[in-house]
Point group: D4
Chain length 252, copies 8
């Protein structure tokens, strides 16, 4: 509820079109929908510019399918992340026009019309094992109508592979870098480009990688000042912010 709407409501009270009691109720209630176990936030799109997203990992296939269907019915573009096979089957049974991306473990539904992408994001990953996280980022950004350049398997132990794609990196509005193990790649990429780098530590590794904690710490301590960090394996969050940057770069 923005200031304009508030002034209109108050003017209606002034005109006598609305009683104070009714206005009080309206001021208290905001546009979300209660379906018992979840309160779907339909006006998030208005508030933050992008639709709410379903994190499927903590939900049953039936719960995810129900929320997905509700959101689809509201006409939104919908994204479910961390969706395993059974969840995908449950969603597709209800919303057959949705798409499952198995490597990214994501389900997408595009309902809006997007004449052409706004913003350009490069998604970089260090090794083959980082692909699921990188793909989660790429699929998310594409659903949000952002152009994606994928640059995979360019880890720092063979630095020439990264230098070979330097020009492609330089053309993006923002760069997402997914890496596990020592998490060194974002620092090197950060030194090569003049745009924000969003680092995604992945849980790839063993032993002292502590399920991605080593990569996370490495990225937080990056000596490249244009690096910010999201949670381990959070390809979705990185794409969300990268999309916002890309939009700003192309007219907000």
């Amino acid at each position: 509820m923005n200031k304009t709407a508030l002034l209109e409501l108050l003017a209606a009270v002034e005109r006598g079109d609305l009683t104070p009691a009714a206005a009080s109720d309206r001021l208290a209630s905001l546009p979300f929908e209660d379906i018992g176990h979840s309160r779907i936030d339909h006006h998030r799109a208005l508030r933050t510019g992008l639709p709410e997203v379903i994190y499927a990992a903590g939900k049953s296939p039936a719960q995810t399918a129900e929320i997905f269907t509700r959101m689809a019915s509201a006409g939104h573009d919908v994204l479910a992340t961390r969706a395993d096979e059974p969840t995908a089957l449950a969603v597709l049974a209800s919303v057959p026009e949705a798409t499952y991306h198995p490597q990214a473990r994501a389900i997408t539904l595009r309902q809006s019309m997007h004449p052409e992408p706004r913003g350009h994001v490069a998604v970089v990953c260090a090794g083959t094992s980082d692909l699921p996280v990188a793909e989660e980022a790429a699929v998310t950004a594409e659903l949000f109508n952002t152009r994606v350049t994928r640059l995979y398997d360019v880890g720092v132990a063979g630095i020439h592979r990264l230098l070979a794609v330097r020009e492609q990196l330089a053309s993006a509005d923002a760069v997402i870098v997914c890496a596990g193990m020592e998490g060194a790649l974002p620092s090197v990429v950060g030194g090569l480009v003049g745009v924000p780098v969003i680092a995604v530590p992945t849980s790839v590794g063993y032993g002292a990688s502590f399920n991605g904690a080593a990569a996370l710490l490495g990225m937080l301590n990056s000596c490249s000042p244009n690096v910010t960090v999201v949670n381990i394996d959070n390809g979705f969050g990185a794409a969300y912010t990268a999309t916002l940057i890309g939009r700003v770069a192309h007219g907000g």
Copy 2:
């Protein structure tokens, strides 16, 4: 060295203006300057768009002053962060036109001409104790020619203080949020705005705050997807990325 420069160099070889050996040397040497204990990276400005910055905490006052002076002589805008009083005195003795910001613990020197700011960043902090970090961010962004709106002491335990500045938040290209203790503020701010939020955990707190680790973990686990995170107390890094976003929003 971009592609154009490379083609010119190779054309000079083709024309016989340059011997292969001389070209080989040129290709190997890139423009940094070796002053013994540091290699100053003068062409970082070309490569990433903003000057290199001196992290003074690990250096003696004399080392910082020497690097600062070198960079100043090269005509750059210069920033030294984590500079204590003795370091400030050493720098100002050599470069009297520099400015010391004691709360931000930063020394700045502006030499470039900036007709008007490009980009607008809001710097938010949770409590009075977070001010040093917030000011480091604000001073950094201002030196980088970004407009800054300061919104301080709006922690989540009195949520009305934050809601009262909601419109000011909404007008920024990016929001920097500094908070210690539980680090909850970025999530709430993230839900209120549609632009990137850069979260800076601060070392404010005691006991189980573990010098900022609790706030850091909280921010990494934010349920607002437009939140990315930098290192504890790293106001500078947050401002660096926020500046890049602001530039992209105003013509790159």
Copy 3:
């Protein structure tokens, strides 16, 4: 054994109704019952006001069923927490009048007469994934004869959802807040109400949530001074304390 009972016992010795040896034995033995692998503490109800509860996670279905049956035979209200399906089957086979709450993973048996609830507790949770913990709290409080108001899916990233239930929060004697990820909700709730807030970190999250440790740390560092914390996923413990507060508020 309180002071009155002790004086009566000693008076019996004085009167010669009881030999010193018999009195010594009585003083040494306290009312618990030894069934080999467990010592059931029947007089805990006298001592602390609420019956002992079975934590089923570390026990076999048969062990849980045996203890449950013993307690039921003693006429107590009985609660078993962290009870999976097989445990529920084993208990219900012995005590058919017990009830299994699958989402809360709890088995309850009410045998006492309770004319009307004493105390009122609000149970709040941040997201759909926190429901099992919130329901464990709610079911526990209800068995202990406390009125429960459930306010679910009101996480801080959409702060308007929480503000919309502000009046419901304000009417409770104590508020239980369950949240995973960054664990920010208790701080915001704590700032809205004037009663104790019991924060329950949940293991909901991934990566740097470290199975609820991030939420736990966040809650321990809450800037709202009316927040106390229990162990990760410990909905039962939160309800136990909230019940005690509610009883105090309604005549002890």
Copy 4:
């Protein structure tokens, strides 16, 4: 701003006594006071029942003194915690009627009239070294008009010392237990009483106490279900919640 106030405001609009624009401004602004580096929250007393408290550790003596003076001028009871000697001197210079409690490291100012205490809290500590934390709790509760029974140096290695004060424990509305090292005391106390126990881990110990983390973990894992926990050394927070419980027990 409660519902009554809102209805009055809206009625004023209906009557034409207030323009919609003025009402809109009033709705947006809530009663806090901006003094540059801090936003003092005067209506917290209305909202949560107890005055805001100054955490002096992260502030300069001058900042603390300024905030303290402002709050004193507003007629509130005022409490500053973690106040060292220089801070106390600065505050007392401005507000001579304030009192400094050196062991508790607290500064208090009582301005309200309290005919007699409401609520009774027992403050227990394990050893002599825990006294500063226990005293912070006791001084806080007393300023908040709660009766305090101090039971110090009753650690579990000499369990008879604790059993000797059992009756005193049993008469309180809530018990605060401060303990460092292994933090075992709250569990034992919790088994002895039928009221909420608020456990305060202290940083007392060495080596594997990890500055109180061992005690904190012990308390979070308490096998007594009436134990909730606050941050390490947070005597103030424990007293705040204990006071709220005591008030509820004596008419809210």
Copy 5:
């Protein structure tokens, strides 16, 4: 090889009964047996007084059975710990006179003649869930010819249960205390007895118990000075040391 044996060997050289080369070989080779993947240490019994024990967790059933059989053939008493069902089947197939203790997850073989136990150990545990660890300790001590008094389910939240067995505790040469969760029991027991207490943290608990780390830290920080600690769930190690103490108490 003790000094006597060395002198004998050297005397044989002096007498010419042994060549220097043969003596050199004898000095280099010590009595262990190489079976490829393991070097069985037959003379450990001579060196440390008790036979080597097989830790079965890291070995295949076949490997455990092979080592067990070898040791049995050498006439030793044999103990295998952390032995699951398949391992027990494999061992019993080869050594039918061995005994499997399922709760203790141990396989024992007694071949020595022990006229009567030497030493007396009390094994205490806090709750029913700690039984496997307590039983591992009890079975181990019994195989090593030590008398064992089991005192189970006497956790600190019902301190009267522990006080009721105080005399039984006082009669032992050493006390083993197994506890999970907050690990408080050894401190209380340590204050009640005048003999060494060996604390065994168990992995019983959830959330912030971190698989026994909370109990471990609590025990290491015990305020009772007669408490020493072994690894999480290490009932065997506790029994080993307790047995050594018991032997010392009864003639070494």
Copy 6:
């Protein structure tokens, strides 16, 4: 209060020599002395066999001196550990016959008559830097009337130094091993002797020693089953348990 004393007391009631009320008071009060900030436990000597000890680190010199003096007046042997220079001066001013051991940071007072030592303990340390901890152990054991053999600077990187003192190790009733860094020494010593080994991790080291945590973890994971562990730098606790073992070995 043991059973005999209880029977006597009850018999006095039976005879009419004691009223029930007086008996009740006697039963409730146990022999400790309340001096305000501490409750001195005079009957600990009766209960556990050794006097209570003052941990001076968390106390002011004046507090330590007061407790020390009280204990001295009661005729006990007294030990204060972690006592710095100012504490020693304060104690010696009140109790001039006490002795300060600067390397061990301990103050001792022997008042009892001990015809000859009971028990023999070897104190081993890995390097010169471990001496303060080893000396705390040695001084403690000696005050407790135990014979001590010091074997210092025999770390595992020069294993021959340890093998050279093997016979001395073998003659002790218990061995205390102090080591920092990797904490490997107790495992090697444990394999050489047939008596209990009490491992004391020291905070000696840097970087990944994490102030002794690495040594602590190493010792807890010892592959020698006769090793138990105390807290980092806790030489006193090791000596306390070693003394108890030595007493058991020499007639209790």
Copy 7:
């Protein structure tokens, strides 16, 4: 691309044999092969002296088989580590001449001609449970044409087993030591030999071994200065470095 090749390329430009544009392309492209999900680094052999190795744990059997086959086709020796049974089947189906080593969980293919081994490495392990890691090291070194001496089950709790193989240790160019639990073995070995010791912590252990972290910390804090450390269970990495040392020792 080394300097010689660069000079040749530039000379070709000078001669007119190559256009600047073509040379620019050649300079940018380095010899790796893009197969979609991986960029195989064929010239790593040239750059670092040993072929790239496939870490199979994070890859599907099909992915591993595809990469293995590609590398085999290029004529390289190939090694896949952490390969389970299904992966081995997939690889052997494509490359039947490869060998699966089940204990080492490795697949090897030797295609090069090696007249005789260069370098000699001793692989030592503490216990039977460390065998998989030790074998991964041994198989790797052998594929890289290094002579391997296996010395297994020589843990520090029976130090004579290690001393018995001292001469075998002394003859190697480098020693790899694999140990779990307390990780003490490398320190002892390091004191016995005058060559580099590469310590491999293994995840063998339980409880406070924290999956190998205790052994890792112990090794990093080794008091033997010739010890360096690799990641937990990283037998491959240890063998890689040991091989490089062995080659240096035998003519580079």
Copy 8:
């Protein structure tokens, strides 16, 4: 004592030149010197090839000076690391021909004749703040008669600085890489060279660097297989191993 010496000793017994008792003594005593608080290991040079080194951090200036003087008198080359100014003064007062290296915090004494260096080590560091650690490594290697090439301030955020020194890296027998913050440099260097890389994490950084733990974890998880790691700030240990590699490369 090697096999030859043993055979000689036994032959002397055979010849009757040595009694068995005297031989037994000789076999038990190994050549170290006991000076009370330290056992100096003079024959380490024989056993491991390099002299023992004094770690001064845990010792008083007087202790360090005494050990240093003893070693100097024995004719050894001597190195004391982590020596502060007062320690240096104490050592130089006794051994004036020693040299203090303030940046490296090392004291060296060369007494041996070294005609020319054996082995060549490159010492690389990421930033100016890493210099003390890098210098400790360089000074150590030089004292051990190894040629050192220093390549400082070549961090990964400006990758061209590192590529510019690639040829210098390639000529070394081993490379030591010191880096704090994210610790990414060893991985990149490891990919550029075909020799062992010894990574030294430094405590340079702040916040989530956790005093070097982040860099340490990064290096342990390096994706370059020729990287091994030493403790945080352990420049000495890295140089020790690098020296051993260099010696092997130049004739052992």
